[in-house]
């Protein structure tokens, strides 16, 4: 369970679900925030 929760793909899945939820709820500002999170997380491993 813990290894699944800390899988590098887990934050991506969480952000994707949050993004869909904010779109459905019409919370545009939060959708932009999720977009920022996705862009930031996509750089995992890039230092």
């Amino acid at each position: 369970m813990r290894s699944r929760a800390t899988d590098p793909l887990a934050p991506l899945l969480v952000l994707a679900v949050l993004g869909v939820a904010t779109v459905l709820a019409g919370l545009d500002v939060l959708t932009w925030t999720v977009l920022g999170g996705l862009a930031g997380y996509s750089l995992s491993g890039s230092v």
Binding site: P8, G40, S44
Partner: protein, 167 residues
């Protein structure tokens, strides 16, 4: 301090994008959005390794000397430089698509800055997930194996969310 620096860096870059977004304002909305979705459409095959499309980046690592400036100061500055997204390699296409969207869609200063906060939090999620794992080396190896699906999944999700927001 590292996470604070990451968020501050994201906000700094978002501020610059918001300031520059005025330059795109005279263009017709159709043309502006076409640029975003053209870039989003190219991002997925690029991240899958099917398309070679060099994009501007600062092709170097942040110097180790930054971290040696003292524990708090060094970590904060390292985070700041990493959080800007322009001081080291940009290994995925999603940040370019988002930057283009902020430039041409110009969703407003507050929304742009909050997007920068999100970028910093997204960057901070990597060390958090790594710290929560039980084996750092195994997590690093797993990240290397997951890099392609991770960056491609991010590009697809960013494109879909932008379509929902802008169309």
């Amino acid at each position: 301090m590292f996470a604070v620096g990451l968020v501050a860096g994201g906000v700094l870059s978002a501020t610059v994008l918001w300031l520059l977004s005025g330059l795109a304002a005279p263009l017709p909305e159709v043309a502006r959005y076409a640029v975003v979705f053209a870039l989003a459409a190219l991002a997925v095959p690029r991240d899958l390794g099917l398309l070679r499309l060099p994009l501007p980046q600062n092709a170097r690592q942040i110097p180790q000397a930054v971290l040696q400036a003292g524990t708090l100061t060094g970590a904060g500055r390292f985070g700041l430089e990493l959080g800007t997204g322009v001081r080291t390699y940009v290994s995925a296409s999603a940040p370019y698509v988002l930057a283009a969207a902020l430039l041409v869609a110009s969703p407003g200063v507050l929304t742009t800055l909050i997007t920068g906060v999100g970028f910093g939090i997204g960057r901070a999620a990597t060390p958090v997930a790594r710290a929560l794992s039980t084996d750092d080396d195994a997590w690093d190896a797993l990240l290397r194996r997951r890099t392609r699906p991770l960056i491609t999944g991010a590009a697809v999700t960013v494109a879909a969310l932008l379509a929902a927001l802008l169309l």
